[in-house]
């Protein structure tokens, strides 16, 4: 699967309180959550972001709370992918469970806000600034889960079978 999109850069340790502040957590509607995504750092982000844009971050993206509202807020804005140096572990599971692709690659210093990059999610090849960077492969177990349509579809099949 190939995605091509504009970049939004966020630094290291972007925590889930930034991705979606707790004051909005009584909402479960992804559209409402999306309207407040990244609000403490970039209040205009939800207005200015376009479907297909990509988040690029540093280390430990998604650290903090287990709130699944975080990947929901990101996907609600039409963002298909986050590329970061590393991800926090609960966010990593949550993102794949909610259909948000994550790739671990160190491209933060190679790109600037607004650049366009092209990413082949299945091979992990990221084309940025005329250069190809290979992301760390998604663990085979996660790939299997994704191919089954995610954890919930896996569970559904299990219950039906």
């Amino acid at each position: 699967m190939i995605v091509k999109g504009r970049i939004w850069k966020f630094g290291d340790n972007i925590d889930t309180d930034i991705i979606i502040p707790a004051q909005y957590l009584a909402h479960t509607d992804p559209k409402v959550l999306g309207q407040h995504c990244m609000e403490p750092l970039a209040p205009n982000f939800p207005k200015e972001v376009r479907a297909g844009d990509i988040i690029v971050s540093g280390t430990n993206f998604g650290c903090g709370s287990s709130r699944e509202h975080a990947p929901l807020a990101i996907t609600a804005l039409g963002i298909p992918l986050v590329v970061a140096k590393t991800f926090a572990r609960i966010f990593y599971r949550n993102a794949f469970n909610k259909g948000l692709a994550l790739l671990e690659a160190d491209i933060y210093d190679l790109v600037k806000d607004g650049d366009e990059i092209e990413v082949d999610i299945s091979t992990g090849i990221i084309r940025c600034g005329g250069k190809d960077v290979k992301a760390k492969p998604i663990p085979p177990f996660m790939v299997e889960l994704i191919n089954e349509g995610g954890l919930i579809n896996h569970l559904k099949k299990k219950l039906e079978g």
Binding site: D15, A22, G64, S66, T86, N94, N97, F141, L151
Partner: protein, 420 residues
């Protein structure tokens, strides 16, 4: 080659003799938990998959502790959904109202988690139960739905990092100061995906309450779980609280660790994490010029009896600084009752504190103590991210109960000896 306590518990729950870090396991779970923020998303997924029942109504737990007593209509609606679901599916351990406390203080106290358990919870601080020699870890709502329905979960075996602690504790210094000290050493991703295992004479000397507060903040280092050896104190705690049999696992002498840290706790002072990362740690002594608007003593990290006892000892006969709000939040109804019986409430009231019902409330910027723009809090909670307790331009300093109480009296960040 030997195994760590974490590896042994995971192996036992996957019906395996041994496991290696990095392996993916399909494990049995002993408990799946969610709260009033995370359960609504779990229940939506439960509906979507068309499940007809939970795997065991005794082993699914809901605790309505975050936005309760209901802070607004939406929160009330969420609680109502969870209440109706619990009735429909016969959930035995559904906690709300006067039976409700902060989940990670409540579950051990109710004896719902015991040594050797594998527990998953839709709350990142689920790692707290490692203090009992259990494996417990936080996950999102969808993973918890999977656990609720199947009684199983996939887990990657983490590498283990050992924190071997020796030396004598300084007066007023608790497990909270140690975990903040460790976060200062290794950073907010210093234990990413790893088990944080504690050992040594200084750990044996710690109360259960302090162990819970250390295990609680494993997630702040990116850890998967925090875990403690089972000793006489653990056994005594379980004797008082456990509702079912436990199993004691211990790390082998030749178990493999990705890293071993030796820590002399006599060198651990009054650690305070400055904005806006739990790893931004300084000593309270360096922060004496910082004015404070609010002090919060509570949360799943430090709302237990030992914390209130320490705060009361420092606040006895003193007054909270004029213009500062000091909010005390006993973590569970049992802690609340015991603090009242011991006279701590009178001490807090005489000092000018606010006593809150058990709730996560201000810790996550939910309600019951939100900060305005430019305001600053010292809190015994676990996170000080940007906007964590309110306005994005407010600030949170994380501390132990003694520094929090001393700060409430002085109005600036203070060590206990400055006010005694």
């Amino acid at each position: 080659m030997g195994m760590t306590i974490t590896e042994k518990i995971l192996a036992a729950h996957a019906d395996r003799d041994r496991v290696e870090p990095g392996e993916i396991l399909d494990c049995r779970i002993d408990l799946a938990m969610a709260n009033d923020i995370t359960a609504p998303l779990s229940l939506e997924e439960f509906e979507k998959v068309g499940a007809k029942a939970v795997f065991d109504p005794n082993k699914v737990v809901f605790v309505l502790d975050h936005f309760t007593p209901n802070k607004d209509i939406l929160s009330a609606e969420n609680c109502k959904k969870i209440r109706e679901f619990s009735r429909k599916y016969g959930i035995v351990n559904f906690f709300e109202g006067g039976e409700c406390g902060i989940e990670h203080a409540l579950l051990p106290e109710k004896g719902l988690v015991v040594a050797g358990d594998l527990v998953i919870g839709a709350d990142s601080h689920t790692c707290t139960y490692g203090a009992l020699g259990a494996f417990s870890t936080g996950m999102g709502s969808t993973d918890i739905t999977y656990g609720m329905v199947t009684g199983r979960i996939w887990l990657k075996v983490p590498e283990s990092i050992k924190f071997h602690c020796h030396g004598k504790w300084q007066k007023w210094v608790t497990g909270k100061e140690l975990i903040l000290h460790i976060l200062g050493m290794i950073g907010v991703d210093g234990a990413l995906y790893s088990a944080m295992e504690y050992s040594g004479e200084a750990i044996a000397a710690l109360s259960m309450d302090s162990r819970f507060s250390i295990a609680n903040m494993a997630i702040e280092a990116g850890g998967k779980n925090g875990i403690f050896p089972v000793d006489d104190k653990t056994l005594a705690y379980m004797k008082e609280h456990a509702t079912r049999p436990y199993k004691v696992y211990a790390s082998d002498a030749d178990a493999t660790y990705s890293e071993v840290y030796e820590i002399d706790v006599s060198k651990v002072g009054f650690s305070v994490a400055c904005p806006s990362l739990p790893s931004n740690v300084k000593d309270a002594g360096e922060l004496g010029s910082i004015d404070v608007d609010q002090v919060v003593i509570g949360s799943c990290t430090n709302g237990r009896l030992e914390d209130l006892e320490m705060a009361a000892a420092i606040l006895t006969g003193k007054r909270v600084s004029k213009g500062l709000r000091c909010i005390v939040i006993p973590a569970t109804p049992a802690i609340y009752g015991e603090a009242m019986r011991r006279g701590y409430f009178q001490t807090f009231l005489d000092a000018g504190c606010i006593i809150s019902p058990p709730t996560c409330g201000p810790c996550l910027g939910g309600h019951m103590g939100i900060l305005a723009k430019g305001e600053r809090a010292v809190a015994t909670t676990n996170r000080n991210f940007i906007g964590r307790m309110g306005h994005p331009e407010s600030e949170v300093y994380l501390a132990g109960p003694a520094v929090a109480a001393a700060t409430a009296i002085k109005g600036k960040i203070a060590r206990p000896e400055e006010v005694l």
